[in-house]
C-alpha cells in the first residue's frame, strides 16, 4: 500500500490484483462486487465468520471523486457493527463523536435533541468521519485476513446467472477473466454495472432542489454538535447544514436556489463561506461538489443467486444519514445468513429473509428521509406556508419544536414479525457493557466476535442444555452465579427479560424472539424458525 496526498489528505493506493491463472475459471463461494461501505463491511463480516470471500473493486483506492467526504455520519448501530469487526477504536480515534443536534432559524434555536439520553451502548449515538477513512480502515482489516481475497483494480463487466452458480466477467489493466460464484452480492453503488446488466427496474427519481457541499478546514471553538439552519441570511434565507468531521474539517452544506442551475465554482463556495463565517475566519476549502437528492429502490433485493446491498439496491434522500448506514446494516443482515447457508447449517430459504427484512428497512428509510426532504424543501407554496407557520409556532411554543424536521437520524432497523422473526422480536440489542463470568468487563458484541452462533440469554441460572452447535445458552442477571452480569439491570429490561424468561439473539444482534417457557422443544422451534428451517406452513405465506 502506498499513501499519497490528495486535497491535503493522506490516502492509500492499493496494488492492482493480477490474476495468477487467467485461463482457468475458478469457483468461489461468495463474490462481493464493489468495495464501498457496503461491500467492505460485508467482506469483513464474512471473513470474521470464517467464510472465504472475494471482493472486486474497479478502483485502486478508497473514496470517490477525489476526496469527497460523502457519508460522514455513522450512527450507533453501524458503530456497533464496526466494534464487532474490530475497527471501532480506529474510527473513534479519527472521528468526532457527538450526540447533540440543533436546528436554527437565523440565530434562534427552534429544536434540539440529545441522542445520548437513555444510551446503553458502549458506542456514542453518532460519530462523524469522512467516508474514505471508514473504507480505509475496513480495507486494512480485510487485507490482514487470510480468508479475504481482495482484488483492487478489477472491474465487473458482465454477469450470467446459471442454474447453480453465477459467472462474472472481470476486467483489469492486464486483461479479462471469468469467475464462478455460488453467491454474488452486488455492492456496486448507485450506478451498479451488475444491476444495469440485468436491466432490473429501480424507479429512479431526482429531486428538484440543489445543494452544495463544501468540506472546509477552519478552527472554531464551537462544541461538536450538528447545527442545521433552516434559514439564514448568510445563505439568502436558505438552509445551511454544518457538521464537524475528522482533521479539523467541517462539512458545510448550502441549499442552493432550485431555479439556478449554474455549476458552482470554487469562487461561489468561497463567497458563500466568507458570508457564513464572517470576515475574520481563515478557511481552507478542501473539497466541494453540488448534489441533488435522488431515490431509487429495487423490487427485490434477491435475484436467484445474486443479492443487492447498499446504494445498488436503494437510494434515499440524504437527510438523516440513512444511505451509508443502511448499506452497513444490509451487510450486517446478510453476512451471517450467507455464512450459515454456505456451511450447510441453514437452508437456502434463510436468504429470503434478507430481502424481506432489508427491503422493508429501505421502504422505511425512504419514507422517513422523504419527510425531512418535504420539511426542508417544501414542494409547493402551500406546503411552504405550513412549514413557515410550524417554525413560527416552534419559536414561541415548545410543543411545536418536535415538528421541526431537518433529518431524523439513522437508527437500528426493527424487523417485523415474519416467518423468521418470532412475536416481539426484531429489535437490535444495544452493545451494553456487561460483566463476564470471570469478572472481566466486556460488551455484548464480545459474545459475537467470531462464528455465527445464536445466543439464548436466560434469566438467572438455567438448567437448560440444548445440544446444538448453533446455540450458546448463557444466563444473565445480577447475582454472582450468572454467566453474564448486568449490574444496573438496564440491559435486562431492554431485552424484555423482566417480562420474558429468555431471549434468542441472532448473529447480527437482532432479537429472533422471546420465550416464556424455556425448554428443549421451545428453544429448538424458535431457533429453527430464525434459521428458516421452521415448519413450511407458516400462516402469513
Amino acid at each position: 500500500m502506498i499513501e499519497s496526498t490528495r486535497d491535503g489528505y493522506r490516502i492509500p493506493t492499493f496494488a492492482t490484483y493480477a490474476p495468477s491463472n487467467e485461463g482457468v475459471r475458478t469457483r468461489h463461494p461468495v463474490v462481493v462486487v464493489g468495495g464501498g461501505l457496503s461491500g467492505l463491511t460485508l467482506a469483513c463480516d464474512l471473513a470474521a465468520r470464517g467464510q472465504r470471500v472475494v471482493l472486486l473493486d474497479e478502483d485502486d483506492t478508497v473514496g470517490v471523486r477525489g476526496s469527497a467526504s460523502r457519508g460522514i455520519v455513522y450512527a450507533q448501530k453501524s458503530l456497533e457493527i464496526f466494534d464487532r469487526l474490530g475497527i471501532f477504536d480506529r474510527i473513534a480515534s479519527k472521528g468526532v463523536a457527538w450526540s447533540i443536534g440543533r436546528s436554527l432559524v437565523e440565530d434562534e434555536v427552534v429544536y434540539s435533541f440529545d441522542a445520548a439520553r437513555g444510551n446503553l451502548s458502549c458506542q456514542p449515538p453518532f460519530l462523524n468521519v469522512q467516508q474514505f477513512y471508514v473504507e480505509w480502515f475496513l480495507a486494512e482489516r480485510l487485507h490482514g485476513h487470510p480468508l479475504a481475497d481482495v482484488r483492487w483494480g478489477n472491474r465487473l463487466t458482465d454477469v450470467r446467472a446459471n442454474e447453480d452458480c453465477v459467472t462474472i466477467e472481470v476486467e483489469w489493466s492486464g486483461g479479462r477473466y471469468e469467475i464462478d460464484a455460488d453467491w454474488v452480492v452486488d455492492c456496486g453503488g448507485l450506478n451498479s454495472t451488475l444491476r444495469n446488466r440485468l436491466a432490473l427496474p429501480t424507479y429512479p427519481a431526482k429531486g428538484a432542489e440543489r445543494w452544495l457541499i463544501c468540506d472546509v478546514r477552519f478552527s472554531d471553538a464551537r462544541p461538536d454538535e450538528r447545527w442545521t439552519w433552516l434559514r439564514t441570511a448568510a445563505n439568502e434565507d436558505r438552509a445551511v447544514w454544518r457538521h464537524p468531521m475528522a482533521d479539523g474539517i467541517w462539512r458545510i452544506d448550502f441549499q442552493l436556489d432550485a431555479g439556478d442551475d449554474t455549476e458552482p465554482s470554487e469562487e461561489t463556495c468561497c463567497a458563500l463561506l466568507r458570508r457564513l463565517l464572517g470576515p475574520d475566519v481563515a478557511f481552507d476549502l478542501v473539497w466541494y461538489g453540488p448534489w441533488a437528492s435522488r431515490t431509487h429502490l429495487l423490487d427485490d433485493f434477491r435475484c436467484g443467486r445474486i443479492l443487492f446491498a447498499g446504494d445498488s439496491a436503494h437510494v434515499f434522500p440524504p437527510f438523516g444519514a440513512r444511505g451509508g448506514n443502511s448499506g452497513i446494516q444490509d451487510a450486517d443482515n446478510l453476512g451471517w445468513k450467507l455464512a450459515l447457508v454456505l456451511s450447510g447449517k441453514a437452508p437456502e430459504r434463510l436468504i429470503d429473509s434478507y430481502d424481506i427484512e432489508r427491503r422493508a428497512a429501505a421502504v422505511h428509510n425512504t419514507r422517513i428521509a422523504s419527510r425531512s426532504l418535504r420539511f426542508v424543501s417544501p414542494g409547493t407554496a402551500q406546503v411552504r406556508l405550513v412549514q413557515e407557520q410550524v417554525i413560527a409556532l416552534a419559536r414561541r411554543y415548545p410543543f411545536a419544536q418536535a415538528l421541526v424536521n431537518t433529518g431524523r437520524l439513522s437508527e437500528a432497523s426493527h424487523y417485523e414479525a415474519s416467518a423468521f422473526i418470532g412475536f416481539g422480536g426484531g429489535s437490535s440489542v444495544p452493545n451494553a457493557r456487561i460483566e463476564l463470568a470471570d469478572g472481566r468487563i466486556g460488551a455484548v458484541v464480545d459474545l459475537f466476535r467470531s462464528g455465527s452462533s445464536f445466543i439464548l440469554l436466560t434469566r438467572e441460572h438455567s438448567q437448560l442444555t440444548v445440544a446444538n452447535a448453533m446455540l450458546k445458552v448463557l444466563s444473565i442477571g445480577q447475582g454472582a452465579e450468572t454467566d453474564i452480569r448486568d449490574p444496573t439491570g438496564e440491559l435486562i429490561e431492554r431485552l424484555g427479560l423482566s417480562r420474558h424468561e429468555a431471549v434468542l439473539i441472532r448473529p447480527d444482534l437482532h432479537i429472533a424472539g422471546h420465550l416464556d417457557d424455556v425448554g428443549q422443544g421451545s428453544v429448538r422451534a424458535l431457533l429453527a424458525k430464525a434459521l428458516g428451517a421452521g415448519p413450511p406452513n407458516i400462516p402469513w405465506e
Partner: protein, 63 residues
C-alpha cells in the same frame, strides 16, 4: 371522531371569535393563522385516530 353533536362550548361565541380573528387579515395571513391554529388544536386533541379522521372529514371526500 364526533361529527354528530356539537362539543364546542358556546359555539356561537367561538364562531364569532374565530371570524373576528380573520376579519383583520389578508388571505395570506388568514391561511397562516389557520395553520398555526390547527397545529395548536391538534396538540390538544392528542389522538392519532381522531386527527386522521378529521383530516379525512375535512378533505374533498368528507364534505
Amino acid at each position: 371522531m364526533n361529527v354528530e353533536t356539537i362539543a364546542i362550548p358556546a359555539p356561537d361565541d367561538f364562531y364569532e371569535a374565530f371570524c373576528r380573528e380573520h376579519e383583520a387579515l389578508t388571505p395570506e395571513e388568514s391561511a397562516a393563522f389557520n395553520i398555526r391554529l390547527i397545529f395548536l388544536l391538534a396538540n390538544q386533541v392528542a389522538d392519532q385516530n381522531v386527527l386522521h379522521a378529521c383530516l379525512d372529514a375535512a378533505g374533498a371526500h368528507g364534505v
